[in-house]
Symmetry: C2
Subunit: 311 residues, 2 copies
């Protein structure tokens, strides 16, 4: 997920946490209001072998405790095999409606004719969320998202949650309604935060209920943070983590030939960015900070089972 596009619903920094009042998630989960819960979440699994390899290594080291998978991507079978072999891994789906890199492309899970409004003239997903927003039909968005979930379930993945690659599935009210509906259809939590309450759309409002997981804060490094130093950003983010349910979105890969070529022409979220994320989230520094700050790691599976499915 690349937050610059996550127009409606994503908080850009932890400071927004202070705008909000009590955390209903903390109450529902049985924590006091000063508890600092965190999901350290790797996006983009399946996009490349490098991303899979680095993300799996970080998940197995134990700091990164959740991740989501891009079903339409070429390396999906590799991560699906990992998920089947590791059924306790907390793996959701990074619902994908864009193919943003220049030299390496993918298209939909659905038949192209059935989701033509989501595709460019080469049959790939659009590179930008803007292009998707301009032509995408909400019913085709819903069809494609549903196809992605069905395919992952058919592959034997115990899907713990849904989120939205580049925020595309949440970029317009009617896409957002489709995204939430798909979550409800499969009894899966979808990544949302408090901003969902600000959306003046009756369909969206009607889809929110007591079983809806709504994060207090969604955090992610932005371009300026990266320019200032990834290490510095992540240390500060963990030290200043607000109370409540926090989701920190990161992107792990190696800065290798595959990844450098895949991300060529992109200044941000590229191979060097992902290597920096990997380095920090497999470091002893990070592990110690989590302990020092009394940060409680929580998984999407727990949220799914306790809140969405109310077990």
């Amino acid at each position: 997920m690349r937050l610059k596009f996550f127009i409606f619903i994503i908080c850009f920094s932890a400071t927004l946490g202070s705008l909000k009042g009590q955390s209903s998630m903390l109450s529902k989960l049985g924590y006091t209001q000063d508890a600092r819960l965190l999901i350290i979440h790797a996006d983009d699994l399946g996009v490349s072998h490098s991303e899979n390899r680095a993300s799996i290594k970080a998940l197995e080291q134990g700091i990164v405790n959740s991740a989501s998978i891009m079903v339409p991507c070429p390396w999906f079978p590799e991560i699906a095999a990992y998920a089947r072999a590791n059924p306790r891994a907390d793996l959701g789906l990074h619902l994908t409606l864009n193919s943003e890199w220049n030299m390496y492309k993918w298209g939909p899970v659905s038949s192209r004719d059935s989701v033509a409004s989501l595709l460019n003239d080469k049959g790939y997903f659009y590179a930008s969320v803007d292009s998707l927003m301009a032509t995408g039909k909400p019913e085709e968005v819903e069809w494609e998202l549903t196809s992605q979930v069905k395919k992952a379930l058919d592959e034997g993945i115990d899907v713990t949650h849904l989120d939205a690659h580049m925020g595309a599935a949440a970029s317009k009210a009617d896409f957002l309604a489709a995204y939430i509906r798909v979550g409800r259809a499969f009894q899966l939590p979808v990544l949302l935060d408090q901003r969902v309450f600000e959306i003046e759309d009756s369909e969206v409002k009607n889809l929110i209920d007591a079983n809806t997981v709504i994060a207090d804060n969604i955090l992610s490094m932005g371009p300026q943070d990266f320019e200032n130093g990834a290490d510095q950003y992540y240390r500060k983010t963990l030290k200043e983590l607000p109370a409540g349910l926090n989701v920190l979105l990161i992107h792990l890969a190696y800065e290798d030939e595959e990844m450098k070529a895949m991300t060529s022409g992109h200044a941000y979220w590229a191979a060097d960015w992902r290597q920096a994320d990997f380095n920090f989230f497999t470091s002893e520094t990070c592990r110690q900070l989590l302990v020092q700050e009394n940060i409680i790691l929580i998984s999407w599976r727990e949220l799914r089972d306790r809140i969405t499915r109310n077990k």
Copy 2:
């Protein structure tokens, strides 16, 4: 192309050259009957970044003088960009009806609904040619092959020829007829050899005429050759190259993490095989052998323009 599947039309070794008489290709091209013409042809461009990178390097070193591109594969945009920037490169299409690796998959260029008989229940091309032969409808084969050619032309590639990944497009008489028809529709030579004359199929026979390029020998390393040593196989092949129009099919990539993961679970045509091909076909040994043996390199572009298009 993996020759073990190329059931009907491909000669497996140079020794078959001796079964044939005069080479009509040599005559048409104005060579005497003792001339040893050779296309050193890299297959599978577009399949991965590693394959693209190694194949481009070998093409630019000048021994490998032709290659073909897999249009449905994820890294197609990278090789298409190379083709546009290097319009003299001799690049054809490796028409693709299979997705044979375990952890990394692709599907058709056409809308899935329109070529459903070519796809497995996950929406990918079948891993094996046998599965494709069992269910594939020839009209859907022709539609998909046509879609691949159109897409490559739309991308601005000056397509010099067509050939068949894993021999799939030539694995049955009705597929073979479709493959040849697609070549004729775009005035492109398709890879065929003398065995095409042995096929008892009137449709195929009617598609062969004076403008059809038919190689005298198609050569490619097999598993036993690889076990005995790639270097030894290629030295022998070049030293014993028969007179006539010869096409030597090779597969170039680096034995890197991407390629090892992509080819995992396959004993042959895997990362080590492709690194061995790269090593030999960028070596001074190979260059000297071509000179010593008076081997004449010829391109598909020349065959296309002089024979297929009769310029």
